[in-house]
Subunit: 456 residues, 2 copies
Amino acid sequence: MGLDQSRSREITTDLYELTMAASYFDEGMFAPAIFSLFVRQYPPNRSYFVCAGLDDLLDYLEFFHFQPDDLEYLERTALFSSKFLAFLERLRFTGSVRAIREGRIFFSTEPLLEITAPLIEAQLVETFVINAMNFPCLIATKASRCLQAAGDRRLVDFSLRRTQGIDAGLKVARASYIGGFVGTSNVLAGKLYGLPIYGTMAHSYVESFPQEIDAFRAFARSFPKNTVLLIDTYDTVAGARKAVTVAHEMRTAGHALLAVRLDSGDLVHLSREVREILDGAGFSQVTIFASGGLDEFEIQEILAAGARIDAFGVGTKLGVSADAPYLDSAYKMVEYAGRPVLKLSSGKISLAGIKQVFRVSDDRGLLQRDLIGLHDEVVSEAEPLFHLVMKDGKRLFPSEPLDLIRQRFLQEFARLPATYKALRRAEKYPVEITPRLQTLQDQVTSEIRKKELGGS
Amino acid sequence: MGLDQSRSREITTDLYELTMAASYFDEGMFAPAIFSLFVRQYPPNRSYFVCAGLDDLLDYLEFFHFQPDDLEYLERTALFSSKFLAFLERLRFTGSVRAIREGRIFFSTEPLLEITAPLIEAQLVETFVINAMNFPCLIATKASRCLQAAGDRRLVDFSLRRTQGIDAGLKVARASYIGGFVGTSNVLAGKLYGLPIYGTMAHSYVESFPQEIDAFRAFARSFPKNTVLLIDTYDTVAGARKAVTVAHEMRTAGHALLAVRLDSGDLVHLSREVREILDGAGFSQVTIFASGGLDEFEIQEILAAGARIDAFGVGTKLGVSADAPYLDSAYKMVEYAGRPVLKLSSGKISLAGIKQVFRVSDDRGLLQRDLIGLHDEVVSEAEPLFHLVMKDGKRLFPSEPLDLIRQRFLQEFARLPATYKALRRAEKYPVEITPRLQTLQDQVTSEIRKKELGGS
């Protein structure tokens, strides 16, 4: 559904995926492999993640095939044999995917999806898998933190101009909606994802009229049912008084001013003053919309200081997840040809074996702890989070409606105890490894040490 | 040239651009406007910027026209009149663009481009203009800092898996090349931009063989002319010894091991130990390639501590510009219908009038200071940085070859004194405003205060 999800996705990859594949092909290594996607550790001030991005990923896997001009490019690199290129031409993704559903909460170290496929297929998709999941999860998480700070006030994604490219802008709009936002300023995202779109005027609009009040009146003429006035171009308080004048004129004409927007200055002080001006003039139903460099920390702070704001436009700092602009995600092989594997590189240890994540809730439904276990374990009174979503390269379910995913998130977020949702210094949610999985780790680690390091 | 630069770009925009345009249309406001793009202030640890992204932007402007299904979507929103939608259908970008060339260095507050066009056209392109320039400039700048840290060691972009989407991955590959990198792991970027591509193997490759040395041998068989061995999957030092074994075997077969790669652990200590092992075995021509969580700070630090590394793969922290993930860029109207304008919003003041940037160098060619002046000023012995690159909606020059842009950057970067290139606490490069431009600011500000604030 995203932008250009159909072109050259197969070579949207790191070269090493292709060189490894070529070697596997030469060596006849076609046995099934299992890869696991997880986030190694929390970035600063994060204590949970929100799953997003799976729909794009499944679309990519289902339609995976190298296109002729991409194969011609690979041929021109002179790195690959014609036999291997002929193999790539026929290659489709025939594997299966087990995954946590979009909108679910997950925690560091636990897998959010596992892919089982012939080695070359499972390896070739690595770069795209990480890219497709990493950023949406990052943004849905950031959005949920804004929601946590804003309480019942509405949040709108305003980030497109400063997202890291256009694809990022679309991903932010979709993922922030999953994470509790009510819509976006991004028109293309509105079209592609059916999201509510928001927007009124910029400072340049006000400046292009001889006087500020001319701009307000013109906008009310063109959009009488949808008038939100930006009042801080020259002076916010003076702007609020002009908005009141226009609100009176609109009322006389049978319309109503919806809101005013503040985009700069001391939002606590200004919002209170503007609220008084509006209320004093009999316009208490006119809401106050704030924007300008906001994030969850700022929203929490200004509300705590008594700001009178009804809705927030959150831009750049949401759109790049400014305080934590990436997740330390990894897609690691955990089994090849029936043999569990892991790596021992310092600080980057992975969990061998095909796995399941189990979630234990208390009797009020509050999340208590998760367990990472082996795929075929049964953990009583725990919910298994992995579902088989793709088999033999085919999706087992159609794309889920975004509103369903968003509701799934909101319901589970309400079940996550507040202590794990603090914006700073949140408690660490308990994630345990089952005894059977631990035994497997110990066994594989010791075998590798024996084999590669002479038993040390 | 980028990914999907041809689809729905016109609605890759904030909704308010369209609501403002609709109101301008209703009001008959078709006079020319001038907008100026600039970065308000430096992010932490930045002291200059590198210009990138213009080529994509000019492509967007030249082919600007609303597509039928996008217009249908706009109609379904029920926000716009059919007259306005018919106007949009015919709309093309007919304006001109003056800009600093890609690869040039620029500084905060000075414009990097100005667009002159009928108001609606100049306004509608705002979101895309900022999005197209902001991120490439951010990344070219980050790349140049890595170059500053790495000296004459080679740098390769490894970021694709964790860039904020796919478009971001392409933009990172292109912009980091401009900023001095030698290539990328991103295969699609290789195809689209003609960039050198790099890559060999991941840890999973090593793990899928019964033993590490089997993996090394297999890779050398498939890529005898291009063998780089990843040696840290289990134990870096043990891996280096196995690499030596394979290097001997390759030599016997008439080939040569190119390099080994370290991706984890203490790179200072390990690179020295690995260098000794290689040198001791007679393989001093085998280079050491390092990756894993690197950025300019880490590269500077480990080289200062004596790491023996010949080339770096720089990934995530380059790809999202992790320490400064956005620029505070703004696209502001500076003149409408011949009347200079600006806004007075707290902390967000813009410079009215149509401008030029002048660069003064000393007699050795070192950059000394910049002046922001009016378009028609003459500043003696200063180079004007703005060039007219688009007129009447048509590009005046074809796309520039990337290598030319990269050379332009490297040459000017060498002329920027070291004191402005320090990774931390760099000196602030002097940017002044000419007396004529200052007079205009004072005049416009005082007029606005009189008009909007009752002369206060």
